[in-house]
């Protein structure tokens, strides 16, 4: 591999950040790195919106019959929280920010294959997000992010059409991102970058893109049908008018279950990068980790009806989808074991990104294993639609995807901005998040087993003790999220300048300057073996 050890600072080299400064140069940019920053800013704003809704809900649930918000408001809050967090934060989080920034850098390309489409993708996202925010301002929707019919189509009298249109448009943003990644990974790899030399992050982005491209259109069409039903008053999914509500659930989950993997697969890719760098080892079982990503993406399409075991589907359907759901657990398990094995006899440094990575592995393990409860037919009929489900998917989505996003953000922050964040604060924030997360969501497993249903604004008094714990955890979590926002912004101005490779990580993105020049590389790089920690020079650390 072409190793550039250290570029001494000479008169401000041209980077993608300082090349032009006008607002138009950002809003009309075709540079994947700038678009990544646009996405990063937007999803942070949306995360704040969704997070605020979560905090209000947790405060409401502090006492069994709180009067902080009314039932209707509470319903709108969890709907907002779900829609914003799922469609406007988690789905684009890693792919559209870190993915957008890193895919070309990691494979040694100058940009994505279709820069204009990439920009279009951001504008679609912003349009969708604006519609959703407009919906919020006008009074919100109260259907839950799942838009179950016939409630959403015939009964709710909130701004459902607006919310659905927002999600519909954001869906096309995802499709375009996925399309761009697929083509880029196929056609834009630099010399020497064979498929089995691709960083594992690229494998996971590829798998994610498959889901983007093949699942999202089904959601789009389903939501369009719900809109049509509301507007025209025809009974597509309303049994009173001849429709079948369970068909909606089939079509919805055909997208929304794979969408879970859209959210977690990129995280799995990030963790593979972090674990190898901070133990200075090539991944244990590279090809197994890579193939597990693809297996998850493909098997993930076959399991959707495990969200519907008790919805009135046939017992036959339940059994088939249960066994398929267990299948998809295996590649996830393979990944966890391989990461753990990678640590064995490594040279482990517990820096901030590594703390997130190790936290991720633990939480993902718990989240994955509790998923088995829900795939087990006999247990699902007890804990389905209770807080057990909430706890399970927050372990995957927050404990998994958000932790990975935070870890990746810290890890590549010097590459993106050219600045180092304060390490001590980073570690503190990571520990606070880990602690706050578990305090928030572990009690919810117990709540669910005891039977507390989800989406309740008031509850039976005996559930209070766990709800208090959960709310306490949520406030810690809120602090944990505010800290990085503070010190990362601080580092932009006052952070130490990072060299091209401050963490001594392998990978093409670390061979170019930080921040990278507009065309990423001075000259087209040539890829060697990935994760070549055995031949890296650590003497100047």
């Amino acid at each position: 591999m072409a190793t550039i050890s250290y570029i001494p600072e000479y008169a401000a080299p041209e980077t993608y950040l300082n090349t032009r400064h006008t607002v138009a140069s950002w809003l009309l940019t075709k540079d994947h790195k700038r678009i990544a920053i646009l996405f990063m800013v937007s999803i942070t704003v949306l995360f704040a919106v969704g997070g605020t809704a979560a905090v209000i809900m947790r405060l409401q649930l502090l006492t069994p019959h709180s009067t902080l918000v009314e039932a209707e408001t509470y319903n709108k809050l969890f709907t907002l929280h779900g829609i914003v967090m799922v469609f406007f934060f988690l789905v684009p989080s890693i792919p559209a920010t870190l993915g957008n920034f890193l895919v070309p850098l990691m494979i040694g390309a100058r940009d994505l294959a279709f820069p204009r489409i990439n920009l279009l993708s951001w504008y679609l996202y912003i349009t969708g997000a604006s519609l959703t925010i407009t919906c919020l301002i006008l009074g919100g929707a109260d259907t839950g992010w799942t838009f179950y019919t016939p409630y959403s189509s015939s009964f709710s009298n909130t701004h459902v059409v607006l919310a659905i249109t927002g999600v519909f448009i954001a869906g096309f943003s995802s499709i375009l991102t996925g399309l761009n990644f697929i083509v880029t990974i196929h056609k834009m790899r630099c010399p020497g970058m064979t498929w089995f030399r691709l960083p594992l992050f690229i494998w996971s982005m590829y798998a994610t893109s498959i889901i983007f491209v093949l699942a999202t259109p089904v959601l789009a069409i389903t939501l369009a049908l719900v809109c049509l039903e509301r507007i025209l008053g025809v009974g597509i999914f309303d049994p009173n008018l001849g429709g079948d509500p369970i068909l909606f659930q089939h079509l919805f989950w055909f997208y929304s279950h794979p969408a879970v993997y859209i959210m977690i697969l990129p995280g799995l890719g990030v963790i593979s990068e972090l674990v190898t760098c901070y133990s200075r080892k090539a991944p244990f079982g590279y090809s197994f980790i890579a193939m597990a990503s693809l297996a998850i993406a493909i098997l993930g399409f076959l399991v959707w009806a495990h969200h519907m075991f008790i919805a009135g589907i046939s017992i036959y359907g339940g059994i088939v989808f249960s066994i398929l759901s267990f299948m998809v657990a295996i590649p996830s398990a393979i990944k966890v074991f391989n990461w753990t094995a990678t640590l064995y006899k490594g040279s482990i440094q517990l820096d901030t990104p590594m703390l997130y990575a190790l936290g991720f592995i633990g939480l993902f393990t718990i989240g994955g294993l509790t998923g088995l409860f829900l795939a087990t037919l006999g247990i699902d009929m007890h804990v389905h639609d209770t807080y057990f489900v909430i706890a399970h998917f927050h372990y995957i989505m927050v404990g998994g995807a958000v932790m990975a996003y935070m870890g990746g953000l810290h890890f590549w922050w010097p590459k993106i901005t050219g600045k180092l964040y304060p390490e001590w604060w980073g570690r503190i924030a990571a520990l606070i998040l880990f602690f706050g997360f578990n305090l928030t969501f572990f009690p919810q497993f117990l709540l669910g087993y005891l039977g507390m249903p989800r989406r309740y604004y008031a509850y039976a008094p005996e559930f209070q003790v766990y709800n208090v714990m959960s709310t306490a955890g949520a406030s810690i979590l809120a602090v944990g999220y505010l800290l990085p926002l503070g010190y990362l912004l601080w580092s932009l101005r006052w952070g130490r300048t990072a060299g091209p490779n401050p963490f001594k990580a392998a990978g093409l993105e670390w061979t170019t300057a930080s921040p990278p020049p507009p065309d990423n590389f001075e000259e087209t790089p040539v890829a060697g073996e990935p994760y070549n920690y055995h031949e890296m020079d650590f003497s100047d650390v």
């Binding site: 409630y151 369970i246 079982g285 008790i310 074991f337 509790t370 795939a375």
Partner: protein, 332 residues
């Protein structure tokens, strides 16, 4: 049922705790044992092991298959009510549960059941999807409009238990909760007798039966309904194939709504559909009545009001003049 679910949960908790401890332990141990001791440290590379990969593929696979098999067994059992189960009907609507006992007592948001008897709930919804969940009994089932679903249980301990709507159904979703009251058989009977105005569904069903003139055909030139329930009926099914089905509730409901899907062999296809005529409650009443029929009741001479053209011998389809959107948006 509850204990079966709990045993299964216990097994999964065991597996979860084992693997969580394994992973957390390994991570913790490696992080300490192999911490970076000098900045320039360069560890030995290990690229993988097929044997290990196979181990941690096959063992989890086998474990999940045990979970699947066990879980499916419990699930199927939970969907196979015993024949002697007493049947209670539940109708969900925004935002209450209307519950109907076979003897006629009706209650709202409370479900009285006697200790030790198998209880089968037949559920349907009047508006959106609800879910009838009794956490203490470890069961729940979505309650879907336009469809009958069932769940069953045997109460094993006297007491009061929560009953929740678990599927989000609108503003007062959280208030669509109630209580299951398990009493002794004697207390249950006393409670049943408590409401003197109660009209048993079978009696209400009889009125409907007469109102719609069902007895003008059934028992005369239509198939008799007396003693029909629970027997085997020879029918011509949807593909024109002759086969035998059990005349259970689902069959009766289906035959009232879609008479020709399973036409009794040897009878002409004359009966009109009652899909838009009968409410879910009325359907339940009719089904209960047919279940209760003795030989005399079905063939009793007709004494009701004059019949519409629909049910005249050889008559045409009844004209059911509901405007297309009659039910629409009004039942919010």
């Amino acid at each position: 049922m509850a204990s079966q679910v709990d045993h299964l949960v216990l097994f999964l908790v065991g597996v979860t705790v084992f693997f969580s401890l394994l992973i957390f332990g390994a991570i913790g141990w490696f992080a300490i044992r192999y911490r970076r001791r000098s900045p320039g440290e360069r560890p030995q590379q290990i690229h993988g092991s097929i044997l290990l990969e196979l181990t941690w593929t096959i063992i989890p696979f086998l474990l999940t298959m045990v979970m699947f098999g066990w879980g499916a067994k419990v699930f199927v059992a939970a969907h196979s009510p015993p024949d002697d189960a007493m049947e209670i009907f539940v109708i969900g609507k925004q935002w209450m549960w209307k519950i109907q006992h076979p003897e006629g007592r009706r209650e709202i948001n409370t479900l009285h059941v006697p200790l030790g008897r198998a209880v089968k709930l037949t559920l349907t919804s009047q508006d959106v999807i609800h879910d009838f969940s009794i956490p203490a009994f470890r069961i729940k089932q979505d309650v879907v409009p336009g469809m009958y679903t069932t769940e069953w249980f045997i109460p094993t301990r006297i007491g009061e238990y929560h009953l929740f709507c678990d599927q989000y159904c609108g503003a007062k979703h959280a208030e669509m909760a109630g209580t299951v009251i398990v009493t002794t058989e004697a207390d249950y009977q006393r409670w049943l007798a408590g409401d003197l105005t109660a009209v048993p569904p079978a009696v209400a069903g009889k009125k409907l039966f007469e109102l719609y003139g069902c007895n003008t055909c059934h028992g005369q030139y239509g198939p008799t309904l007396a003693g029909l329930y629970g027997t085997q009926v020879e029918v011509i099914d949807e593909r024109g194939i002759r086969r035998t089905v059990i005349a259970d509730e689902a069959y009766l409901r289906e035959s009232i709504l879609y008479p020709n899907v399973k036409l009794v062999a040897g009878y002409p296809n004359r009966m009109p559909s009652f899909k838009s005529t009968l409410s879910e409650e009325q359907l339940l009443d009719l089904v209960q009545y047919i279940k209760s029929l003795s030989g005399a009741a079905a063939t009793a001479p007709y004494k009701g009001p004059p019949l519409g053209p629909a049910t005249q011998p050889g008559g045409a389809e009844p004209r059911i003049e509901n405007p297309p959107f009659a039910n629409y948006r009004t039942n919010q």
